[in-house]
Symmetry: C2
């Protein structure tokens, strides 16, 4: 079975058959704001942290598969029939409903056609604002005038992902939804003890009706595939007080044969009445959205143009020049949080993962890699070992960072001896080695001494055969080697690290 | 809107309109095995612990609402039409599909009628086995012979409830399903590091086909309301290796006009090939299932007959004589774990909750209350304060039980001064006061001294006005009063506790 193909011209992966056995996801956003979107528009969003900044809700490993997401329903008001701009959630028969999903660099487009109505639904996150654009272009390819409604739908998450999953005594008694400035949904809540995160969804076209209460929009014993409000053709203007908040806005317009209408919805982080209203004004003209799209495309072109190859294998070129690099930048940005399999409940950066993640992007964004290396060095202990995961957002030096002896891994700290030299080889910025960086528990040392200390730690942790002890685990987390167990794998890593360090020291004459 | 009524004769609550705005749940089981089932057959099951013994999976706060559960599908093989023995998940139009749900004491019955086929689906847990019976009686009320299939469906949970919710790298790579003895599904998995919990589902009637892989039974982009296997009329005999395991068994039979067939499915804890096969043999005759049902009804009759009232208010009589007592026994058995709102991720007994829970049942089951009081006394610290929650399943004395000073509540320990006297007043078992019970952290004392120590602790924790300090919180968890804050509420509780203790001491002449 074939589900799609690479369009190298546009640097897109095109999913031409939406009935994929698993979701095929793309990433939206370039730094603080992360959106995930599947080939059926399922997905979620978080801001800075997947654990504590979850803006849009997602049900992992669920039935129906992978819901909710960023949904746009189209309703023909003449006969009440409705469908979605992505195949799911309505899931019209593919004999009469056509759909193509294009996953591009930082954006996803859904093209659909049903009963003579064509839609082009594009979602992206601009590079310097914590918002996402939902652009919907609707074209009447039929011979008669059509009276159509658009309905958006997303489900707000309770920011704290683990609470959202299980603490219903808390999350279901918290939200107080608002509707401001004729067309902007206000999702402001108060979290204990003193956080007040805010989200909004705004429509540029006039809003006919809205819902902020999930149960009202969806209706009893229904789901995203057959929401009651869409079936009725009008929302109830519900303002959720507790329960589950959602973002549903209705536009309505008529289209003459051949006519096209452009609708824009903006969803993001910030106060609805001020920042939401400002965004709506700023992007009232389509050209300004297009300018943001271009800036975002330039961002990716810049990142991907630093290394290209041309080999006889077209497949290799596609992967090396586009998709591997795109993936590497994504893991560099969000570690393992941006995923449908990793729920994002573990905050922070895995020590070894993140060291590895720098290797794939250091040629393109050495400055950002330098910052990330400092984050990692601050997760190293004065002993030379490392914390298994570091939380840059909340890092504070102190003895609370010292893991139990049994929780020290044999490889974590050694990865610094690969990542730092990679940065130096790329940039020649040897001054970095003299930069003073605090340890996680106490004291401060130069980057050079951090590296040396990592080697020292491993040297003191050798087993009966002189090989490195495996400690809590070597790279393979499942091999717990506490006691006298030695790791050949970690010993190899140590030798490689030592080679790197010797080469560096001799280059510097130290 | 009216959804149902009390049937006092049968001691049932009858849900006559299944379209309830929220689920109306009942409890199955009497001690170690707990099942929860809604008026639409949604729900889950756990064994001993809602946190670490979750056998059947449930999606809390989900869309579609409250799934999955204990589903039985009926399929007419002549035309392929199918429905469910409970209204949901298929949800046939109520103009043509009739359904009544009867929540009784420890059992739930669903009566349905559709196209001349009547079903009576009864679920209960016997008092001394960790299994549940799914009895399905199918009657042909039409004038023609009918060729029918039954399909069961439940989704296995990964035992560890928090892992099940979020650690997909773990739970989706673990199950290895089996099918044994021609008709028994084997759900045995290996949990890290060395637990091997087992579950099974057996059919007494011959099995035509089965599925153990959720995605195969349900099908892509479908849900419990339109499973592919039921639509096709046959399962794929899938044996899940990883992924999400389920329990689907198909029976098939013809019914002449007026004829009735009885199908029985047994789901529970234990090895499929041995215990599952034994259960199937033991309950091959319907009378033996009925005998278990009677024993279970006797159990409830015994519990509820210890206190009855007859007042001019029929409503009051109904609540006091049946439902309040039923609820009290349920909270006594499972604390706050048996619920659709409390996800059950917090193991253990809340200190104050469980003390209170004893008050509602001490007249009926004083012996069990005595055991529970010992569990609670073992959660008291030598200082007199109490742990905010105790884990009887894993309790071990030691300093690890001592909470942070800032986590001591002002009321927890004082509830002992209400619960223990209530037990004594009911039983006259004053010898209990001399029983030696260990403290949570160190040392052992008589029950009498435990009580005295509780009062002593509070006496040392008075504030500027001589009232009790509020500490981490008084009864209202939201009022955090650390520092000099005093709690009038806790002071009142202290006075009541003191009165109880003085009365007790003077009765004993101590």
């Amino acid at each position: 079975m074939r589900y799609g193909y690479f369009d190298n011209e546009k640097r897109e992966y095109v999913v031409s058959n939406p009935v994929t056995p698993m979701s095929w996801v793309n990433y939206l956003g370039t730094a603080d704001y992360c959106g995930i979107i599947s080939n059926n528009a399922a997905g979620y969003a978080f801001y800075k942290s997947a654990k504590t900044g979850r803006l849009l809700r997602f049900r992992f490993n669920s039935i129906p598969m992978d819901r909710p997401g960023r949904y746009v329903y189209i309703r023909d008001n003449a006969d009440g029939d409705y469908w979605s701009a992505s195949w799911q959630p309505v899931g019209k028969p593919l004999s009469v409903y056509k759909n193509v999903c294009r996953h591009g660099l930082g954006y996803t487009v859904f093209e659909s056609e049903y009963k003579g109505i064509k839609t082009n639904f594009r979602v992206f996150v601009p590079i310097d604002r914590p918002i996402e654009f939902w652009e919907v272009e609707v074209t009447n390819n039929s011979n008669t005038e059509r009276d159509l409604s658009l309905f958006t739908y997303a489900e707000w998450c309770f920011w704290l992902m683990d609470q959202d999953l299980s603490n219903f005594q808390y999350i279901l008694y918290t939200c107080r939804m608002g509707y401001v400035e004729e067309g902007i949904i206000d999702y402001s809540i108060r979290l204990w003890p003193n956080r007040r995160p805010q989200g909004f969804m705004a429509s540029v076209l006039p809003v006919v009706s809205f819902d902020t209460d999930r149960e009202v929009f969806i209706g009893l014993y229904r789901h995203e595939g057959n929401p009651e409000a869409v079936e009725k053709g009008i929302c109830a203007n519900s303002l959720a007080q507790g329960g589950n908040p959602c973002a549903a806005l209705q536009n309505r317009f008529t289209l003459k044969p051949g006519e096209t209408k452009y609708a824009l919805f903006i969803l993001g982080i910030g106060d609805a009445a001020t920042y939401g209203a400002e965004c709506r004004r700023r992007y009232a003209r389509r050209e300004q959205v297009e300018a943001e799209f271009q800036k975002m495309q330039d961002y990716w072109a810049e990142r991907l143009s630093q290394f290209t190859c041309s080999t006889p294998s077209a497949e290799l070129n596609t992967m090396v020049n586009i998709w591997n690099q795109y993936q590497c930048h994504t893991t560099f940005n969000w570690s393992r949080s941006a995923s449908f399999n990793e729920a994002g409940g573990r905050d922070g950066l895995g020590y070894r993962d993140t060291n590895q993640d720098t290797l794939g992007v250091v040629h393109a964004i050495p400055g950002l890699v330098r910052n990330k290396l400092v984050d990692l060095l601050k997760g190293q202990l004065a002993s030379g070992a490392a914390m298994h995961s570091v939380q840059p957002l909340t890092w504070e030096q102190g003895p609370h960072n010292v893991p139990e002896e049994s929780q020290i891994f044999s490889d974590d700290h050694l990865w610094l001896l690969l990542s730092v030299p990679a940065y130096l080889k790329e940039t020649g910025d040897f001054g970095f080695l003299d930069e003073m960086v605090p340890y996680a528990d106490k004291g401060t040392a130069s980057v050079y001494d951090h590296m040396k200390q990592a080697l020292e730690f491993s040297w003191t942790k050798r087993g009966p055969h002189g090989l490195l002890l495996g400690l809590a685990a070597a790279w393979n987390d499942c091999l717990n080697l506490t006691g006298k167990g030695e790791s050949i794998w970690s010993t190899f890593l140590y030798c490689l690290a030592l080679d790197e360090f010797i080469a560096l020291a001799s280059h510097l004459g130290r």
